[in-house]
């Protein structure tokens, strides 16, 4: 398979391109036309984003609701509490009731009925019941805006976050280090060195992802049983240090966009392959390396089945994904808990992304300076 892919369409200015290297984007003076473009583009992105994130908003709203609201068919959009009034030892629902005299009052329903219902006035329960003619189902319930932040506190206490977080961070970070280092080395080997069988080996590398993983689970698990690694983190961590096709492929593609002139210059200066990788290639390949780091983090963060089968007898070693799934299995009856748990699980990867994406942007600047 063509590991060494073809040349650029000669129509494009290939020769020129190859000679150029990356540089800092020059700041140019702000022009009025840019302002219009800026507004239009930003607006378009906001519109796309609004639709894109609507489900997220829905999940967030659900996470702040109480079961009382979630089970109510005509509940308000925002997290709110249905108003109740305690009368004769029971909580009664409060409704907005239009009275025959033309006034509207908030009354608590004591005895619902099909044709008429009995209410009391929470302000004056001693006055006795007021009988209202009509179907109470046509009345609106009284609601009070009240986001249930307590849900998040409950979930924190129910999931045992600290230990699960420690396990998850450890698994994700160690695996990420292994993945980034091994994949960078392997990609460098494929991108910059010629050796017999390179094409075939690269084909084999890519082909390892063509086999659906469902069928290799059992033999893989068997192998780790025989190695005595089941019940430890090793099956989840060790393979990360031996590269994987997805990330090698991405980094190799990126390395191949970097012109060779600079490696060759470094090599003439006496730099060995390692020095060239570190001082010439890596500074220009930051975006791809960071992308791989992010992918591994998110993967390891949400990986469920691997930790489940390898750590099923060792709950104290399990990561958050297993804890969250266990939690969801138990608390699926309270969607607010499930959504709150999901959102809390996402928090750290999002923060890490915030940090990473700064490096991501800075990567280019470093490149320019380096040149």
């Amino acid at each position: 398979m063509a590991a060494e892919a073809g040349q650029l369409d000669p129509a494009a200015s290939g020769g020129v391109l190859a000679r150029l290297s990356r540089s800092v984007r020059p700041r140019r003076p702000h022009r009025p036309r840019d302002a219009v473009k800026s507004f239009a583009l930003t607006f378009a992105l906001v519109a796309v984003l609004a639709a894109f994130l609507a489900p997220m908003l829905r999940a967030t709203l659900v996470s702040l609701k109480t079961p009382d609201q979630l089970s109510e068919t005509n509940a308000p959009f925002l997290p709110s509490l249905p108003q109740t009034f305690s009368f004769e030892g029971k909580d009664r629902d409060v409704y907005t009731v239009p009275l025959p005299d033309g006034t509207t009052r908030q009354l608590a329903m004591v005895k619902p009925g099909r044709q008429q219902s009995d209410f009391v006035d929470p302000a004056n329960p001693a006055a006795g019941t007021i009988t209202w003619q009509g179907s109470w189902r046509t009345l609106d319930r009284a609601w009070l805006l009240a986001p249930a932040f307590q849900n998040y506190v409950d979930v924190w206490n129910l999931i045992d976050f600290p230990r699960l977080l420690f396990n998850t961070v450890a698994l994700a970070v160690i695996g990420m280090i292994g993945t980034v280092i091994s994949c960078t080395l392997v990609a460098y080997g494929f991108a910059r060195f010629r050796f017999p069988g390179r094409s075939l080996l690269f084909t084999i590398l890519i082909a390892t992802i063509f086999l659906p993983s469902a069928v290799t689970v059992v033999p893989t698990y068997t192998m780790f049983v025989q190695l005595g690694w089941v019940g430890t983190w090793l099956p989840l961590l060790v393979p990360a240090f031996f590269a994987n096709a997805f990330d090698v492929f991405l980094i190799r593609q990126y390395f191949l966009t970097i012109p060779r002139e600079m490696d060759e210059a470094a090599s003439i200066d006496g730099a060995g392959p390692f020095r060239t990788l570190i001082s010439v290639i890596l500074p220009q390949a930051w975006p791809a390396i960071v992308a791989v780091a992010i992918f591994h983090l998110v993967y390891a963060w949400n990986d469920f089945f691997g930790p489940l089968i390898y750590l099923s007898t060792k709950p104290e070693l399990q990561p958050l994904a297993v804890g969250l799934q266990r939690f969801n299995g138990i608390h699926y009856r309270n969607p607010a808990y499930v959504q709150a748990g999901t959102l809390m699980t996402m928090l750290i990867p999002v923060i890490l992304f915030l940090i990473f994406q700064r490096i991501f942007v800075r990567g280019v600047v470093v490149t320019g300076v380096d040149k």
């Binding site: 129910l158 698990y221 990986d303 489940l308 699926y332």
Partner: protein, 498 residues
């Protein structure tokens, strides 16, 4: 059977990019963790009460290891129930007590989240690294692993285990082609649950609590307690947002806010069994058939949804906003629902506004679909004697604690009264538990979860979230007789495959 709603009854196989390499996710969508379904049967769920669970570090499970010279017995838990924090706490205590009193055996407790339990167990068994004991597991859940269970008969004989305390029928449930694969533990007859306040609001009489009693309609007529009556009463209890019920002119079926009746719709076989026991397999065990009472039950359900409007349509049933808890009766917006006794786990939210009544009859005959849970031993266990010792401990000394936390009615007749007393501590309105006891003689025989060929594949048609289960609640205007024939021939095609 607690089937976490079709959509959630899913295991999460994060195989993503190769279980072998720790590949990073890929840029295209659905790259995040992979998922595996367990649409195989699930089991009766002990009360796994979520919202009000005590908030103490629940997921801490002992991880001690066997000492040299000890035999390790692995107890694999949670093919459908037993994974709630308070249950795990009890299970852990049971394990510790056993380990403390049995120096030669060390039990390791393996609690796997329901979402991945079936796939993880399959992986372990296929790799020759299976556990020794599995449970609590129901009849259907065990059939998902048909052929894996140890015949206990030799061990029962060898140890003179006393089976006389059980009703013989309960023992025979576990006598299969594989042998005596189980000893009775918990049983769950079906009853009719009803919401008292909704009957009060409509001015209707409560359903009868005694089998054979008749029902008095609002017009004073006295009628048999059968499925036609259920539909008549349910129509009065089905109300739209303007307060009109389903018997009135101007009732809007698109704006229903309260439903009259919900059958147990987890599994079409179970739904059928309320009208009469039967099996999809004919006498020869390989010809597909559909029992007549099941056809009647499914037609009744279909008409209840689409003509009478007293049961939820599929989209309503699946809406997380209207029915977030799988069983609509838990929301308090359903007046009557038939379900297994284990479904009491979801009734705490109703604050005592419920009771149990007699199941209606079909063609003059009552049938109560039955669930039963127990612990089983895998046939590949290397230590059958030690595993049996642990098993008898779970079914014996530990049984009161476990049954109480699982909410399982003891199979041993003489332990039932004490069990219901303990349930009254949770349900202070004191439901009429006698209904459950009276329902036992009406148990469906053969049980609807009994083994059939290609068990798991066939469930894809009739099980929870199965093809026909979903189709009938989603599509209006179907010719049901044609549907039954299509279902039968599809089952036959599956069974005829090599």
């Amino acid at each position: 059977m607690r089937v976490i709603r079709a959509t959630t009854a899913v295991a999460v196989l994060a195989l993503v990019v190769g279980a072998c390499s720790s590949g990073a996710p890929t840029p295209a969508p659905s790259s995040a963790p992979t998922v595996a379904a367990s649409d195989a049967a699930s089991q009766p769920a002990p009360p796994s009460d979520g919202a009000s669970a005590p908030a103490n570090t629940p997921i801490a499970i002992g991880g001690s290891t066997p000492a040299p010279g000890q035999t390790e017995i692995r107890w694999y838990c949670c093919l459908g129930g037993g994974d709630a924090p308070e249950q795990v706490a009890v299970e852990k205590q049971v394990v510790e007590a056993f380990n403390a009193s049995h120096p030669n055996i060390h039990v390791t407790f393996e609690a796997v989240p329901y979402a991945g339990a079936n796939d993880a167990l399959a992986t372990e068994i296929a790799s020759g690294n299976g556990p020794d004991i599995v449970g609590p597991v129901g009849i259907g859940g065990a059939n998902a692993f048909h052929g894996q269970w140890l015949d206990l008969a030799p061990l029962i004989t060898k140890s003179n285990y006393d089976l006389s305390g059980f009703p013989p029928d309960a023992v025979n449930i576990y006598k299969l082609d594989e042998g005596q694969v189980g000893i009775p533990f918990a049983i769950y007859p079906s009853v009719l649950f009803y919401a008292k306040s909704l009957f009060d609001e409509a001015g209707l009489a409560y359903p009868p609590h005694k089998y054979g009693e008749k029902y008095t309609m609002p017009d004073g007529s006295v009628v048999d307690w059968n499925y036609d009556t259920i539909t008549q009463v349910a129509k009065i209890l089905t109300v739209d947002s303007t307060g009109k019920d389903a018997t009135q002119d101007g009732f809007d079926p698109t704006k229903i806010v309260q439903w009259g009746f919900e059958p147990q719709r987890d599994d079409l076989r179970g739904m059928g069994a309320y009208f009469g026991a039967g099996s999809l397999a004919g006498a020869d065990g390989k010809t597909a058939q559909i029992p007549d009472p099941w056809k009647a039950a499914w037609k009744h359900w279909y008409d209840n949804i689409w003509t009478d409007h007293v049961s939820m349509t599929g989209p309503i049933f699946q809406s997380p906003d209207i029915n977030p808890e799988d069983y609509p009766f838990f929301t308090g917006k359903v007046a009557m629902s038939q379900n297994f006794l284990w479904s009491t786990y979801g009734l705490e939210g109703l604050e005592g506004d419920w009771d149990m009544a007699a199941l209606p009859a079909y063609n003059g005959k009552t049938t109560s679909a039955f669930n039963a849970d127990t612990f089983r031993i895998l046939k590949d266990t290397k230590h059958p004697d030690e595993a049996f010792e642990v098993l008898t401990y779970l079914l014996g000394e530990a049984a009161p604690d476990l049954l109480s936390t699982y909410g399982g009615m003891p199979a041993r007749t003489d332990e039932q009264a004490a069990f219901f007393e303990s349930q009254d501590e949770t349900f202070t309105q004191k439901p009429d538990w006698q209904v459950a006891i009276d329902s036992i003689p009406f148990a469906d025989n053969p049980n609807f979860e009994a083994f059939m060929p290609k068990y798991n594949e066939t469930l894809g048609l009739v099980g929870s979230g199965g093809k026909y289960t979903t189709r009938w609640q989603t599509e209006k205007g179907l010719n049901m007789d044609q549907e039954f024939e299509a279902l039968r021939s599809e089952i036959q095609a599956i069974w005829d495959k090599p």
